[in-house]
């Protein structure tokens, strides 16, 4: 079982990561967007264990009444974890923009919402003197299933090396409420959207293919040879290749002898 994790060990590593990384930069508090979905719930639970509930702020940022159930789940989880919450309705800001520049393009509205939340999260992080905890998982990062400078934006990401199915196992270990564990994953870009419906593959299938391509570094042909569907493997490979820009800082045109992003090489944790 290559995707099997030892959840208590993973919890130990990720809690230590959150704690140490914040303390190195003299922060005591973490802040994150709470959607009521699996990833942000797992991240909130890890942060509460790492920092203590009172040092975690969950930002609940619904658009209109579309995701009332999720708001309820997010609030219930926050109560259970003993973390603070703050609800900001993003409808007025998003609607103000699209009233002026109307569109029926769901990618535009979805991205705008994700970036609105990012903007609020960064603003509130100053007020709270908190660092932003990212909630993107490895599956999303690899296939580019996230909004650049939106939900992908964060100060540190504790979950980015766990596939969605592994996040779910961790969620079970952290005893998240069944309503969250059972929920169909959705980016919440529009009503009725599900990740699996949009990607066209189940997460268990997707993660198994990603594992072979990425962790085992097998070629698409080899992965197909293992018995995975040709169409699925080719699609996953294309998703990975076409989303490289989301995983990188933008390229800087090199002119001088020493250039940021090329040969000005320092660690993020430099002098910490």
């Amino acid at each position: 079982m290559p995707l099997k994790i030892n959840p208590s060990f993973v919890e130990k590593v990720l809690c230590a990561f959150i704690r140490e990384e914040l303390h190195k930069f003299s922060f005591r508090r973490g802040i994150l967007g709470l959607s009521g979905g699996l990833d942000s719930s797992v991240c909130a639970a890890l942060a509460a264990r790492a920092l203590g509930g009172k040092n975690v702020v969950g930002m609940i940022m619904p658009y209109k009444e579309t995701f009332g159930r999720d708001v309820k789940d997010a609030r219930a989880l926050a109560r259970k974890l003993g973390i603070r919450t703050c609800v900001v309705d993003i409808s007025p800001m998003v609607d103000a923009y699209f009233t002026r520049y109307p569109t029926t393009n769901r990618v535009r509205t979805g991205n705008k919402m994700a970036r609105e939340r990012m903007s609020i999260l960064y603003d509130q992080s100053v007020e709270e003197k908190a660092l932003i905890l990212g909630t993107s998982n490895k599956t999303e990062l690899l296939i580019g299933y996230g909004t650049i400078h939106g939900d992908m934006a964060c100060a540190i990401n504790p979950m980015g090396d766990l596939y969605k199915t592994q996040v779910r196992a961790l969620g079970r270990h952290l005893r998240l409420p069944a309503s969250i564990l059972r929920k169909l994953p959705t980016a919440g870009l529009w009503t009725g959207q599900t990740d699996e419906g949009e990607i066209g593959l189940s997460y268990s299938e997707l993660d198994a293919i990603l594992y072979e391509l990425v962790d085992e570094r097998r070629s698409a042909r080899e992965v197909i040879g293992l018995g995975f569907k040709k169409k699925a493997v080719e699609k996953v490979e294309a998703l990975i290749v076409n989303s490289e820009f989301k995983r990188k800082m933008p390229p800087i045109a090199k002119i001088s002898a020493r250039t940021v992003g090329h040969d000005f090489l320092y660690s993020y944790d430099r002098n910490r």
Binding site: P2, K4, I5, N6, S8, F9, K12, V13, A16, F17, E20, E21, I156, F264, L265, Y266, S267, Y268, D269, R270, N271, R272
Partner: protein, 282 residues
């Protein structure tokens, strides 16, 4: 003779906190009656230095912190890691053994991992040899992290008659395992078990903990005895000072029956290696 492994998390860069941590740990190790305290790789500077390497480099002949540590070695032997200012614009990822008030041996890491998550070859010059030296523990050899994952380096120290092989390490944990550890932790013990057994020597391995840029240094430091059995094991991922008693008489006892050292013929290996080194491209 007691050995202490100082599994800790060095600060990264040039901020002067690390020598203080060494001094505090030395006090604790002395209190525990250790005769040697081993620190991890690059214990005076942190690991992911990259372009900080020249700034973090210390001249072993002149550096005040190393001089103070050497003075501390009058009371307890010390093995530590630092960036060595090699002159001529060369910098080494080095291990030093300090005893009786001075640095008695420096080993420059010879095998610099450069690939995947590792970039040491971009920033460090490689060392050229593995040599044993005399210490309180008999013939002693030093290695730095990746040096140990090559059978040739252990063989060189074995042929040099090593009684004790000290490995200082900054090994990031990676890969999932069944137990409460990274998969990579097994790799180090696998090598240590084999090297201690077949070299009939002690293997003392001190790894660091803490995070740098998301990499978790896994800890799990350990000591193996000359019969290939593990004497002590530190926890994964946590700061700890662990101690073990090295009974040096075990070396002689084991070698009475296991005659690997007596049978060793380095000249045969050397001849074979020469043939390989001198061969044209294949």
């Amino acid at each position: 003779m007691k050995v202490a492994l100082a599994q800790f998390s060095p600060h990264l860069g040039v901020i002067g906190k690390n020598p203080e941590i060494h001094f505090q740990t030395i006090v604790r190790a002395r209190r525990d009656k250790a005769r040697l305290v081993v620190f991890p790789e690059l214990s005076l500077s942190g690991y992911t230095l990259m372009d900080l390497v020249p700034e973090a480099a210390l001249d072993p002949a002149r550096d005040p912190a190393l001089k103070k540590l050497a003075a501390a070695s009058r009371a307890i032997d010390i093995a530590l890691g630092f960036v060595e200012e090699g002159g001529r614009g060369l910098f080494y990822n080095s291990a030093a053994y300090l005893s009786a008030g001075r640095i008695i041996h420096i080993h420059r890491k010879a095998l610099l991992p450069t690939g995947g998550m590792f970039e040491e070859g971009k920033f460090f010059a490689p060392g050229k040899s593995f040599r044993t030296f005399a210490s309180l523990f008999g013939k002693t050899g030093l290695m730095v992290c990746r040096d140990f994952l090559n059978s040739g380096s252990s063989y060189a120290l074995f042929s040099g008659g090593a009684d004790v092989i000290i490995v200082i390490s900054a090994a990031p944990g990676r890969g999932f395992a069944e137990g409460a550890a990274f998969a990579s932790s097994r790799m180090w013990e696998l090598m240590a078990e084999a090297v201690s057994f077949f070299s009939t020597a002690f293997v003392v391995y001190c790894n660091r903990v803490g995070f740098e840029d998301g990499k978790a240094f896994a800890g799990g430091s350990f000591i193996f005895g000359p019969s290939g059995s593990r004497l002590v094991k530190a926890r994964e991922m946590e700061e700890e000072l662990v101690l073990a008693d090295l009974r040096l008489e075990d070396i002689r006892a084991v070698r009475k029956n296991r005659t690997f050292l007596r049978e060793n013929r380095p000249e045969v290996v050397l001849r074979s290696l020469k043939g390989i080194i001198d061969a044209p491209e294949d």
